[in-house]
Symmetry: C2
Subunit: 306 residues, 2 copies
């Protein structure tokens, strides 16, 4: 049988990537409760907020207050997105220990999303990464649209590789490859990691899969076969796809955990507590739970003739 | 890179397994329209009905009339479930060319579902299979609960193997292994096929996955890696899980096809037409579409900042 990683780290993005893409802004108390529930479930990396202008991303307003009030559990990294130096300085003032920056594999997406080219975006992050290094703050890099772009269509692995390499060489300790519109499948996923791994060690790569086309878990399994051992996910699948309203987005952490548990891969995460965290935040948001595992567990068990 | 089957056959079960498990019975005209839409999409095997007592399964009432009125497209097999000799004789009278029988890997499930042991159920099907053979009618075998049972919990591959073997040796040309409650994961799926394939050739095995825990596509990809090339699925994911109301059931054909297309595996099926078939039947049923691919395609595309 094939060999798989013995351990996998899950990077929980619901408090940032998840809530950022939900329609209803959430009170800081509920954001803090979510973060605490996630820590109680055993997650060790939680993307807790984002230092961006509240005009652009109102759901992330108050991230400075959130970090000030955060009850930090030992052994957990609470990270924040910092798209520019101003955001980084705010994060620094808030006592952040880890930040994240992002670039796109698609020029069109870069222009439409942050109004600059890929090269310009990397130039913009260079001082952030350097300043972070000077303060002993780790930086995680994200690449968007690694398997497809809403504007350009297909994205080749050769377009992703230089961006991932540049982020890594600039000082990001890990680069998360994001299938932003969820169009990737198991084969293209494997070819992507195989290609990018020529420039960035597999141990420094992560997969960020969206389940818009239902492919996320198959893509994660394919990634495990490529020896990738870090995956981003969002409890209850929070965070719809920003490019197609009504379509699903982030892969649900519970569903990923169920797969990993079934494969015998260690994560240190408790599925029941994770489900509880998701149920609670879905109640706050007034939305359906996007995790199939959660829904299956919650559904009434009524034995019946098949 | 790993080798995958070059072609895969999809066995479409929505008109039987799908509709049977929907709450609202559907008029024969709409069942016929669904079957025709599926054929137009390129499906070559359609489980169109079931010859069982209408008292047990009211949604399948009128299967004899349905087959009489069916516009058969050339090259397509229209099959029906025949749980006993009485059902088989009705199917024969209706001009069926292929039938299906089923047994369980779990004794408890067999007892609770059809009021007899596994061995008794096989004895019950033996005359059906023999009579079918005498009439030149092919028989497909199903095994339920191959990766878990709602009553017994875990099911070992060693429990599945003898049942699959018995069906095969009795004369079933193909045996479909069904994860009835959707609890299987990629590793247990691969071990299952590896074990059963010691007794039944891989070319005669199929996978019938439920997506109750979101694992179906990962399980299908895992099965492809085990050289399995036949999968059962249901357009729009029709047919909820009969054991947990509200949980999902059959894997959506559109989502499976998207995976296979992405992998470059030939199926002869047109995704757009398949989506149309699913949309139409969901409108008739007044239910949400269970296919993520269909929902993604139907969702409005609104580029927005991420």
């Amino acid at each position: 049988m094939t060999s798989l990683p013995k351990q996998v780290r899950l990077v929980e993005v619901s408090p940032r990537d998840g809530l950022q893409n939900e329609k209803r802004p959430v009170a800081i108390e509920d954001r803090l409760r979510l973060i605490d529930d996630l820590g109680a479930a055993g997650l060790r990396y939680i993307e807790a907020g984002s230092f961006v202008s509240p005009q652009w991303v109102p759901q992330m307003a108050g991230s400075d207050e959130l970090f000030a009030r955060l009850s930090r559990r030992p052994g957990i990294t609470y990270a924040a997105l910092t798209p520019n130096m101003r955001g980084f300085e705010a994060a620094l003032a808030a006592g952040i220990e880890e930040v994240a920056v992002f670039a796109a594999a698609s020029e069109s997406f870069s222009q439409k999303n942050i109004n600059c080219s890929i090269a310009e975006s990397l130039d913009r992050f260079a001082p952030v990464i350097e300043a972070a290094g000077q303060h002993g703050i780790r930086v995680r890099g994200y690449v968007s649209c690694v398997l497809g772009c809403p504007y350009e269509g297909e994205i080749r692995p050769q377009q992703v590789m230089p961006v991932a390499r540049d982020l890594y060489q600039a000082g990001c300790y890990e680069v998360s490859l994001g299938d932003t519109i969820g169009v990737g499948t198991a084969g293209t996923t494997r070819r992507l990691f195989e290609t990018v791994a020529r420039e960035v060690p597999r141990a420094q790569l992560a997969g960020h899969f969206h389940d818009t086309y239902g492919q996320a878990l198959a893509n994660i399994y394919a990634s495990l076969l490529e020896d990738i051992a870090v995956f981003d996910s969002s409890v209850a699948g929070l965070g719809g796809c920003p490019y197609a309203s009504g379509a699903s987005g982030n892969v649900a952490s519970e569903d990923v955990l169920y797969l990993l548990d079934g494969l015998g891969v260690e994560t240190g995460i408790d599925l029941d507590r994770l489900i509880q965290a998701g149920v609670r935040i879905c109640n706050v948001l007034g939305r359906d739970n996007g995790s199939r595992v959660a829904r299956a567990r919650l559904a009434s068990s009524t034995p019946a003739c098949s």
